[in-house]
Structure formats: structure tokens, C-alpha cells
Amino acid sequence: MTNECKKGRNIKDSTSDMVNLTKNVDQTDDLKYNRRAFLKTAVGASMALGLSTVPFSVRAMMGIAEDEGERLEVARMDELPEGNSMTFNYPTESDAAILVHTVNGELVAYNSACTHLMCPVFYEKESDILLCPCHKGYFDVSNGQPVAGPPQRELPLIELEVENGIIYATGRKYRHG
């Protein structure tokens, strides 16, 4: 009885299905995909998730020093009758914003990129609401909070000042209300 005989008995000579089931066992897979490998992957996933937050905090620490409260002339009051809106850029040229003179006579301004997927929002005079047409997201015009649709966060609020009939943007608030 040599080892070769045993191999031959189990693999080649037998016609039994039960014996031939051993052909399904792949030793390489057994060594690769097992309980230990699963736990190692879980640890890797946990560490990857935890460390993936680091770039955000590095950017945040750089962002804390940024000052974006610059005063900018936006429009004249007589150019913007009640129920109308206009677009401008604040605080930088790449930050689109919308200035609304609501039907109630209120002056409000927000960055117009929808907080869902950055589509521009528009003012709907009839229903006095801000609408993102891409996925039907609605924002309350008086405070910029989402009221319907996919957006979860409010629109960044641009603080305004009116002086001698001229509207100025003076700062921006991301979390408000």
C-alpha cells in the first residue's frame, strides 16, 4: 500500500459520486477564502473607512483660516421688483447665487447650487418657492430649507444689506435656521 495507490483509489478508479465529490474541493480557495481572511478583510475595511476621513479634516483645518465675508454690490432695488429674481456670483466667480425679491416683499439670497446634485435652483413666483428642476427638489424661499424632494441640506444663505437703494452681499452662512 503506497501513497500512489491511495490516490488512485480515491480519484481515478472509483465511480462513486460520493468519492468524486472531493473533486469539488479546491484547496487554494480553502486557504484564500476562510474565516481568518474574512476577519482580516473586515479589519482592513474598518481602517480604510476610519482613515478616509483624514483628508476631510486636513482640508477643514486649512478652510478654518479662510475668510470669505467680502462686501459686494449685487443690484439696485429698482432693478428687482417684487416676485422677481436675478443671478449673481458670491463669494467667488465660481459660486452661483440667486437673489430673490419675494412676492411678500422680502429680500433673500442663496447660493443656487442645489444641495442634492448641484443643479441650479430657480424661483417660482406662482408658488413662492425655490425649485431645482433636475430632481424636483423644493426649498422654502424664506429660509432656504428643503421642503420636498431629494435635497437634505439647506441652501447656503447669503447675508444682504440694503444701503441707499443698493443691495450688497456681506457674508455667507452654510448652516442656518
Binding site: 481568518r36 476577519l39 482580516k40 473586515a42 479589519v43 475595511a45 474598518s46 481602517m47 473607512l49 476610519g50 482613515l51 478616509s52 476621513t53 483624514v54 476631510f56 479634516s57 482640508r59 477643514a60 483645518m61 478652510g63 478654518i64 444641495t115 441640506r153 447656503p156 452654510y174 448652516r175
Partner: protein, 80 residues
């Protein structure tokens, strides 16, 4: 043979605890990633640093627990 049984039992319990802790760190880190991104988009920079710090701490806890688990796992299996 019998003298090994209590030790084996406690080791199994320790290893189970390691599994639980590692899965808890995964759950915690998923939440921290979500909160960090949310705070970052809302320009709440102080919060970003706090959540990110917690995420890093949980990642290190996972690593330490894993090292402990590896010590237990490979020392007991080595007797076979």
C-alpha cells in the same frame, strides 16, 4: 487534555470579543464617514475634525484588536 479545556474556552470567548469589537469599529467608522462628509459639506469644520479624530481612533482600535486576535488565534491553532 482536560486541563486545556477551560483555557480553550476562555480563548474562544476572547476571540469572539475581538470579532465583536472589530465589527463595532466598522459600524462606528461608517457613521463617522457619513457625519464627516455631512459636516464638511456644511462647512462645520470643527465638527469635521472631531468626527475624523473619532474615525482614526476607531481605526487604531480595530488594528490593536486585530493584533490581539491574531496572537490568540495562531497560538491556539498551533497545538493541533
Amino acid at each position: 487534555m482536560g486541563s486545556f479545556m477551560p483555557r480553550e474556552g476562555s480563548t474562544a470567548m476572547d476571540k469572539k470579543m475581538c470579532w465583536i469589537l472589530i465589527f463595532l469599529t466598522i459600524a462606528g467608522n461608517v457613521v463617522m464617514v457619513q457625519w464627516t462628509v455631512e459636516a464638511y459639506l456644511g462647512r462645520e469644520f470643527e465638527q469635521v475634525v472631531v468626527y475624523s479624530g473619532i474615525g482614526v481612533v476607531l481605526a487604531f482600535i480595530a488594528l490593536i484588536v486585530y493584533i490581539n486576535w491574531r496572537k490568540l488565534e495562531y497560538s491556539t491553532e498551533g497545538h493541533r
